[in-house]
């Protein structure tokens, strides 16, 4: 470990391992201290540039601390998210849940600082295997199967990534994690990209995300919404910038997420679909690959973490207080949860790219980069998606959750109120940052990997946005009866593999089980009787033939022994008599035969 570089993942991992031993009144200060130390380490690291914490392993040079502008900006937001997320769940007693969250954040930070594919893969898998506990800790009826599906999908993604890494090593002879030759993609380029794409929830590899994030614990979802997809955006920006297929995939994601979010009845699943959509903008930016587009993707990733975590904190508060997440079981909550409503509205305005809120300074960078790069079709479709984002997140979510028809049962209504102080504090920090970034993005722009000249605060941009949002709102209120939530779920691509799984289960339970039962019965009736007959024969054979021979020889030897025994009288003169008689007999016989 190089002296000046402090690996923040180590702080989180050590902190997580010690956490179960920290009990009582020390627990909460400790919970706050460790992420704060992690963030401090990240801030200190951001003053460095170069490769640190390099370790020789077999023939390879592992780099655990690559510090450059791209890793700095992502590490900073992840470090900050570790603080906000832990603060939000500060009152959670289960040490295991905090440990899982910290290991998860450590995996993300480790991936971001990795300079080689081997250490990257290690931290990448750490993320997958620790984050699943954030789903299981909800302990709902569906948590366990959803967690297993999440793990299964990520294991498959990990295997694809590993295959790509191995093929790449065979082809180029090193494990350096750098920009690949995306203009001449090889098989390994595709495999690595697909491995990353799965974590970025690219359509059609996205179904794990809405399912898992909506099923996670109330504070687990705050971590989940920040780390996996944005770490994937980071690695894609690092390795696949300029890969043209990503523009198409990004646009598809942006629109696909919008369509499903508009139809969704579960407030947290709506936000999860929104992640698919928003990550689509980042993926498209990476695919465009120009300096402005990459900067736009990075900026959007940062602000997305801020507003999305704020939204998940708002909806998590609703879940935590009422136990409900469906629009059809909620509504009119502004009276009971005014602070939550206020913070959620800030998150909604931020994701909608409303002027002077977070995404206002990021989304337009990607769209402008598309127009500048003559990818007009992509930019138009992204604008179309942006209108949809405002509709489901800026209008549908707050309207049907906090206003609209009150669908709360008396029990739900009774339980609804603003949550605990730590949750409100975390939301206050998130909301403040959303407004701060939206109004003064200069400090964020200064952290971006490439130099650029871009200002979002032009009159044209302001008027364009106000028109877009204002008239989309008009359409929403005129047509809102057609988007009223209904108690139904939306079938997605996961239907295919769930059907395939069900078909496999049916195959196992019916034809294979029948075959197995039939075989068992046949064995019992035919095989067992044959076996018993054979056994009886061999028993007879053993008793009468084998034992007969062995016992016969034994009896013969014993009989001979009995007869020979009488020769052994023990008297020397008799022994000498027999010996000499035998010798004489032999001698006489010999002479007789010689004379013949």
């Amino acid at each position: 470990m190089t002296s000046s570089f402090i690996h923040p993942s180590l702080i989180l991992i050590c902190g997580a391992l010690l956490l179960p031993f920290i009990q009582g009144p020390l627990r909460k200060p400790y919970l706050f201290l460790i992420p704060l130390l992690t963030l401090s380490a990240v801030v200190l690291n951001s003053t460095l540039t170069g490769n640190f914490a390099t370790v020789s392993f077999l023939d390879w040079q592992l780099t655990f601390g690559r510090v450059d502008k791209l890793s700095i900006v992502f590490a900073l937001i992840m470090g900050l998210m570790a603080v906000i997320g832990t603060l939000y769940g500060l009152h959670v007693d289960r040490a295991g849940e905090h440990m899982a969250a910290w290991f998860y954040a450590a995996g993300s930070l480790g991936t971001i600082y990795s300079g080689d594919y081997l250490s990257l893969f290690f931290f990448w898998e750490m993320m997958a295997f620790s984050s699943v506990f954030l789903i299981w800790f909800r302990r709902g009826k569906q948590s366990l199967p959803v967690g297993y599906r999440y793990l299964l999908v990520h294991t498959v993604g990990g295997i694809i990534l590993l295959a790509g890494i191995l093929l790449r090593y065979q082809a180029v002879g090193n494990i350096a994690f750098d920009l690949m030759d995306v203009t001449h993609p090889q098989l390994y380029t595709w495999l690595i990209m697909i491995g990353f794409a799965l974590n970025a929830a690219m359509v059609p590899l996205h179904s794990w995300l809405p399912e898992a994030y909506s099923e996670a614990s109330f504070n687990g979802a705050v971590f989940l919404c920040a780390f996996t997809t944005k770490t994937a955006v980071y690695v894609l920006a690092r390795s696949c910038a300029g890969m043209e297929i990503l523009v198409v995939l990004g646009v598809v994601m942006a629109l696909y997420g919008v369509i499903y979010a508009v139809m969704e009845n579960d407030i947290r699943k709506l936000l999860a679909w929104s992640i698919v959509s928003q990550v689509g903008y980042m993926v498209a930016g990476i695919g465009i690959g120009t300096n402005l587009a990459i900067n736009g993707a990075v900026t959007h990733a940062v602000v997305h973490i801020l507003y999305k975590s704020l939204l998940f904190m708002g909806t998590g508060s609703v879940l935590y207080m009422t136990g409900k997440t469906k629009f059809t079981e909620l509504g009119g909550l502004y009276k009971k949860m005014p602070a939550t409503f206020f913070f959620t509205i800030i998150g909604c305005l931020s994701i909608s790219a409303a002027p002077y809120f977070a995404a206002y300074v990021s989304k337009s960078m990607i769209i402008t980069a598309g127009f500048d790069h003559h990818l007009n079709w992509a930019s138009w479709l992204l604008m179309f998606g942006a209108t949809g984002t405002f509709m489901y997140n800026g209008l549908k979510l707050p309207y049907f959750l906090f206003f609209g028809k009150n669908n709360c049962s008396s029990e739900t209504w009774g339980k609804a109120s603003d949550p605990e102080w730590n949750m409100l504090t975390a939301m206050t920090i998130g909301a403040t940052l959303c407004v701060l970034v939206g109004t003064a993005p200069g400090f964020l722009y200064a952290l971006l990997p490439y130099e650029m000249e871009y200002t979002p605060f032009t009159t044209y941009h302001l008027v364009e946005t106000l028109q877009l949002l204002g008239f989309a709102a008009l359409a929403f209120f005129l047509l809102k009866k057609y988007v009223e939530p209904v108690d139904r779920i939306c079938v997605d691509i996961d239907w295919l593999y769930r059907r395939a799984g069900s078909a496999f289960l049916w195959l196992v339970k019916h034809p294979l089980q029948w075959g197995d039962t039939a075989w068992g019965e046949a064995y019992r009736v035919v095989g067992l009787q044959v076996l018993m007959t054979l056994s009886r024969f061999w028993s007879w054979f053993d008793w009468n033939v084998i034992d007969g021979i062995v016992d016969g020889i034994a009896r013969l030897v014993r009989s001979l022994g009995g007869k020979v025994r009488i020769l052994q009288s023990g008297q020397i003169q008799l022994t000498l008599f027999y010996a000499f008689s035998l010798a004489a007999l032999l001698l006489v016989t010999f002479i007789f035969f010689q004379l013949l």
Binding site: V258, I259, V262, M263, Y334, K335, P338, F341, F342, T368, F371, D372, N376, S379, M383, F384, T387, G388, F390, M391, T458, T459, Y460, V463, E464, L466, Q467, L468, L469, G470, F471, A472, A473, L474, A475, F476, L479, Y482, V483, V486, D487, R488, I489, C490, V491, R498, R499, S502, L505, W506, K509
Partner: protein
């Protein structure tokens, strides 16, 4: 804040009227804004372009989702748990 919301709800007609005036103002302001830096021909030459775009896009999304939802994408919440009769029986 709750009081403010309730006040606005009590004066809904006034709020709607103010919103329409604001929308008209926003749309009208496009005639005054320099659009020479706009990216495409449509933005530069079609008046109230983004107003039309916002309204049409929102209406189209509502229409598409409505159609998709009715064509089978939106389905019963127990579609997976009852995907096989055995699973339902077990429950």
């Amino acid at each position: 804040m709750t009081n403010l919301i309730e006040y606005l709800q009590a004066h809904l007609k006034m709020v709607v009227a103010v919103c329409f005036v604001l929308l008209a103002g926003i749309a009208g302001s496009t005639l005054l804004v320099d659009s020479s830096h706009a990216h495409t021909w449509a933005e530069k030459h079609i008046p109230f372009f983004w107003s039309f775009f916002g309204f049409s896009a929102a209406a189209a999304i509502i229409g598409i989702t409505r159609w998709l939802g009715r064509s089978g994408i939106q389905t019963s919440p127990d579609v997976y748990t009852c995907s096989t009769s055995t699973a339902c029986e077990e429950e």
